[in-house]
């Protein structure tokens, strides 16, 4: 897994590239929580190039969501491909996270569903 971060439309975008598996969860945690601790309020996880996600990585997303919310911010998910959409639906985490078709829509708050 590789992580790329960038700023777009006033949001911090954390792109997860490859497989968010159990071995990658620590790096993902560091990237997301580090972004929140640096003061970012609007965090978008770009899942467009994420081909796999395990329950540990889902747990990291939830931890980041809760931490951002405690600080008055939010974590949004953008552009999940079909396998990740299925996982989000199966776990019902699509009821917890706001999920968007792409990063631009996430920055603007136009939800996928």
């Amino acid at each position: 897994m590789k992580i790329e971060t960038r700023e777009e439309s006033g949001c911090q975008v954390v792109a997860i590239i490859g497989s968010a598996d159990v071995e990658s969860a620590a790096a993902l945690r560091e990237a997301l929580l580090g972004t929140i601790e640096s003061g970012a309020k609007c965090i978008i996880c770009d899942l467009g190039r994420t081909d796999f996600i395990c329950s540990d990585a889902l747990g990291v997303l939830i931890t980041a969501y809760l931490k951002a919310r405690m600080r008055g911010g939010f974590v949004r998910l953008a552009d999940p491909q079909q396998h990740l959409k299925d996982v989000l639906a199966t776990t019902r985490l699509d009821h917890l996270f706001d999920v968007f078709a792409d990063v631009k829509a996430a920055a603007g708050g136009r939800k996928l569903h």
């Binding site: 598996d21 159990v22 071995e23 796999f52 395990c54 329950s55 540990d56 889902l58 747990g59 990291v60 939830i62 931890t63 969501y65 809760l66 396998h83 299925d86 996982v87 639906a89 199966t90 776990t91 019902r92 985490l93 009821h95 917890l96």
Partner: protein, 152 residues
């Protein structure tokens, strides 16, 4: 588990591996399973489903069963055929009652960062059974069933 004939077992034999309790040890076996699935033309949806369930089962065995104790091992047994994949994962922990694991999909548990592994295994595999007082999980995925998870 499936009933088997000697002919089927000979054509698609069982593989047994003993893993150390180290998360990085998962990848090599996972690669072997994915290679075998590809050889008998399991599609991407099935491969995703099986990879997810396999990873959750082995991580559960290492983290919750063996409590990441490097002195404990995880025993893996698996068999890939054109019809199905069968996987057994056994740890050296104390066992547990899978019926006592909270449902992570109900509203009050959605914000819990952990506890989704078993639910994902059950959603993505066709059968998930526990043996040896919870120390062994036995999973089957039929090729004909397709790969997607099921909404609870």
């Amino acid at each position: 588990m499936l009933s088997r004939s000697p002919d089927t077992d000979n054509a698609y034999p069982w593989t047994e591996k003993v893993l150390p309790t180290q998360l990085e040890a998962i990848r090599e076996v996972e690669g072997d399973i994915m290679d075998r699935l590809a050889q008998v033309d399991y599609d991407e949806d099935l491969q995703f489903a099986i990879r997810l369930a396999f990873e959750e089962a082995v991580v559960n065995a290492m983290k919750h069963g063996n409590r990441m104790d490097p002195a404990r091992k995880v025993l893996l047994t698996y068999r890939v055929s054109p019809e199905c994949i069968e996987i057994r994962v056994r740890d050296e922990g104390e066992g547990f009652d899978p019926g006592c694991v909270p449902d992570p999909t109900i509203d009050e548990n959605l914000q819990r960062p952990c506890g989704r592994g078993i639910m994902l295994m059950r959603s993505y595999m066709d059968t998930v059974q526990y043996a040896c007082r919870g120390k062994e999980v036995q999973m089957v995925k039929f090729r004909r069933s397709g790969g997607g998870g099921t909404k609870p």
